[in-house]
């Protein structure tokens, strides 16, 4: 299996994860979507030096990993390409912001280091939350929820087709990479001289296949609505989950739990 085929397989695995049957999977997609959005907004709203306040925000994704039966390892493995990019945000902060913020014995911690860590954690938490949403909700149900929340058809269709076309494009890339490597033994990757034609061909082939896939959807009655998605009713439990989680996020945002716990223990 080459790299691309593995990527394709991993993408399909997301569908398998989303088809689980845990209590988190059973929640209404709109409830999960709104809760995730609230979580991300609250996480992003923390001040760049508020590392202590931000850390307890990890509790929600950790709890969801446990309840949904989703492996943390799988999450980080699947996010391995995006994670370094997220971690790289704020990497230069220690060089620009040298104001000493903390003194741990003889060790001075600058504001740059704290803000770097805060930015990194924010990114990681948001990615974990997004991953959990995708791993517990089938894409079509998510799109149906977006339509229920009155997100325009065009945007939802774009989201759905992008998700489907990523798979198609990866498949084409897998085939082309394999064909290339068979005729370029011992060569690592695609030679720079072939990049132009390779990308051009990839685009044309993917467009052809994407067109056929979309035609296939149209021929089976697809009208940019998600009649076929799982339409479970929005129950009281879903509303409760949404409200409870959002309240906890806001509580964590406004009450410095870590400091409170620390001072209680010290006392």
């Amino acid at each position: 299996m080459n790299k691309m085929q593995r990527a394709m397989h991993e993408l399909s695995e997301m569908d398998e994860l989303a088809a689980g049957s845990s209590p988190v999977h059973a929640l209404h997609p709109a409830a999960k979507l709104i809760t995730t959005v609230v979580y991300i907004l609250v996480t992003l709203s923390f001040d760049k030096y508020d590392l202590g306040g931000l850390v307890p925000m990890v509790l929600w994704p950790v709890m969801l990993f446990q309840i949904s039966g989703t492996s943390v390892k799988t999450c980080f493995y699947k996010l391995r390409i995006v994670l370094p990019l997220v971690m790289a945000v704020g990497l230069f902060n220690p060089f620009f912001d040298k104001t000493v913020l903390l003194q741990l014995g003889s060790l001075s911690v600058s504001g740059g280091v704290v803000s770097m860590l805060t930015l990194m954690l924010k990114g990681v938490f948001c990615l974990m939350a997004s991953f959990l949403l995708m791993a517990t909700t089938p894409i079509d149900s998510l799109c149906a929820a977006l339509r229920k929340l009155r997100v325009p058809k065009l945007i939802v269709t774009l989201l759905l087709l992008t998700y489907r076309y990523v798979g198609v494009m990866t498949e084409e890339l897998a085939v082309m990479t394999e064909a290339y490597s068979l005729r370029a033994p011992g060569q690592k990757g695609i030679h720079i001289s072939a990049w132009g034609s390779f990308l051009g061909q990839l685009l044309l082939r993917s467009m052809d296949r994407a067109q056929e896939l979309y035609s296939s959807m149209l021929l089976r009655g697809y009208r940019q609505e998600f009649y076929y998605a799982d339409h479970r009713a929005f129950r009281r439990g879903d509303a409760l989950y949404m409200l409870a989680c959002s309240s906890v996020f806001l509580l964590l945002r406004n009450v410095r739990i870590a400091e409170l716990l620390g001072s209680t223990i010290v006392r």
Binding site: M8, H9, S12, D15, E16, A18, A19, P138, D140, R164, E171, R209, E212, L213, S215, S216, M217, L218, L219, R220, G221, Y222, R223, E225, Y227, Y228, H231
Partner: protein, 241 residues
Amino acid sequence: MIEFQHVSFAYEKDRPVLKDVSFRIEKGEAVGLIGANGAGKSTVMKLLLGLAEGEGRILVDGTEVRRDTLPEIRRKLGFVLQNSDNQMFMPTVYEDMVFAPLNYGLSREEADARADAVLKRLHLEDLKNRYNHKISGGEKRMAAIATVLAMEPEAVLMDEPTSALDPYNRRIVINTVRELEMTKLITSHDLDMILDTCGRVILLSEGRVAAEGPAGEILRDRTLLESNRMELPLSLAGRPY
């Protein structure tokens, strides 16, 4: 059921793919559409399904294929694509099977019942909850046929239904196609399959209808086939050396 009246089509100006094509397919008929590569077989399918627009008239059950009649036309026609990967876009076989019935307004229970009935009829019950990316090519082709049958179309159009299948799976597909009672229009280079499944054949050559008649007659005409860049079906050609 299906009628082409003087249909012409070109993807590029001055390079017509279909030139004044006319034919008629009666309800319940099984017709094979054959021809060399580039003869215009797939274009016929595309025009019939409204995926491309040409000149002339195309009628399905008396209704002309036009932009405003497409939903009605497409509901009557089930199309099995040559590449099953493009047909099976949902995560599982079951989800793909209920996709069309739910889009056409059936309740979840009705769609489930239809999916179950089709799977049982094709002896594919064990495929129901399998993931599309984990089934073999032969299984995927059968599942693609099942998704189309779950629509309960009045006619089935198939583009190369036996391509890239091993002999065993090919035979399964052929037997399944033979058992379908609705109108069938099948394009294929597998002339043995056409001989097995179709009563009539339309031979396209360079965008025109070169011949039309009973499958047994057309497919036995070595001169006709060879003059149109085709060969006798293996079963009629005798044992090859």
